[in-house]
Amino acid sequence: MKLARIPVAALVLVIGMIAARAEAAPTMAFGYLVNRSHDANYDYLETLFPNSFANALRNIFYVTIIKPGQIDRELGKDGLSLEKQYRPHELMELTERISADYFIYGDFDILPNDRISIRLNVYGRGLNRVFTFSNVGAMEKEIFKLVDRITLIMVDFLGKNNFFMSGIVPRGSKIGIFTNLQGADLNRLYCAFLNAGYGVASMQVNYIDNNLTADMIESFKCIEAAGTSYRRVSNPQAVRFLHGTWTGERYYEEITYTREAYRIYDAGYTAARSAVLNGLVARHAIDMVMVIGFNASRTRAWVRCLDIKNNDLIWMQSNIRGGLPGICSAILARMGTELTRK
């Protein structure tokens, strides 16, 4: 009888540990913000900014913060130091080493008329993705307002809805929609956009079936762009295309094909993407590409919106809930309403 209690106690303990882990605050580490202005007078901002972001974030978000100085000391134990710049694929190892869920780094530049541009990269270790965005403000008058604004953008992104929006989608814009809906459901989505005054390109809608499933549309979640982007990180040093006389002809063909695909769609993805998007725009004259992914039961959706002209991810949001009509209404209301953030 006593023996039977031991597994129960262990189970309670394990459940307690899991619950505690689920509620644990995410750990966010801040790297330097590199001074791109070539004016050493602004070098002090390289640490002032990350420390300010860290403090501001801690004040409004349930999070454990690691500042640049702390990271440097931690890395120093292994004879390393915090670098000013990292290549994206180096971040997995760095975040593991300092036990951080997120690593935030970036740069700033001084613009004409006493303005400053800050670009931040938020690397999430769990998904191995980087969210990059920038914001501009007046150097002297609103430097702390700029810090608050950027902090709020981070809070929105790190929230359960992964929300980011840099501008509305003006009515009258022509949108190329990619979604995993089909048939009557696809009609409902298109109709909602058209009746709301948006132009919708006749893509996907020009065929009876849509072979994109809820799983397959997940491939569209990451959007790389020149401005704001949400990228998956890959490690070029981990990719191996080993072959030799021992591999055989079939294996050699496969590995050659894989290597070529890797060359085009990872290493040279920017060029491949531009060529394909240019072809799409030439045939459909679209202003925006919008990806709207639904779960299999059509009760939850996520959105990505790419501004083609400015090559910029202008909106992303997850966890939009409701039935299909409700989700359509929520998307249209959001995309046409300016954020009131100052």
Partner: protein
């Protein structure tokens, strides 16, 4: 004749049941009425006998129906099954898989975008070579109910969309669709 009637009744009953389970309100968009004497291509994924009923209604209502079938349209899977790439990525070393996931996702995405561009070229050919002005897509057996769409191939604009939740014969359903797209209803 009896077979045609039976299949149309089955299809219409199925769509009545399906749509009566739906939750949505009316879905209709008409940018501009489609003139009845237009050259059209009707794409409908149904048994041939039902297809005949549908085509006949369009012809009787005065449209110039071009001989283009749903099977003339290729699907992305016919051209290149890019899902095969995922299998290839498994064949490589284990450590490759995570690194190649970005490649796979980008490859899939770009081929999907490309597929849309290629479809636009096929549709331009339909317009230029066979004088098809409107592409009309109809489904009378979908789980979500019957639906129709029309695209003006001169501008690539969507000009008509509607979902239908009516019972009755296929002829009546197609008449309702024609009335809707021509602006009579």
């Amino acid at each position: 004749m009896r077979t045609i009637t039976t299949s149309t009744i089955i299809i219409c009953s199925a769509l009545f049941i399906a749509t009566s389970c739906g939750t949505a309100g009316p879905v209709k968009y008409l940018a501009r009425p489609i003139p009845v004497n237009s050259g059209i291509a009707v794409i409908v994924d149904s048994p041939n006998k039902v297809k005949n009923v549908i085509m006949a209604r369009f012809l009787q209502r005065g449209f110039t129906v071009k001989a283009i079938n749903a099977s003339d349209f290729y699907s992305i899977n016919d051209v290149f099954d890019i899902r095969d790439f995922k299998k290839v990525s498994y064949i490589g070393q284990d450590e490759n898989f995570l690194s190649l996931e970005k490649t796979y996702n980008n490859l899939f995405k770009m081929h999907y975008y490309n597929y849309e561009a290629n479809k636009a070229e096929v549709l331009a050919d339909m317009r230029n070579k066979w004088n098809v002005q409107y592409l009309i897509l109809i489904d009378v057996k979908g789980v979500g109910g019957a639906w129709g769409r029309a695209i003006d191939l001169r501008t690539n604009d969507i000009v008509w969309i509607e979902n239908f939740s009516i019972g009755g014969s296929a002829e009546k359903l197609v008449d309702r669709m024609i009335d809707s797209m021509t602006g009579k209803r």
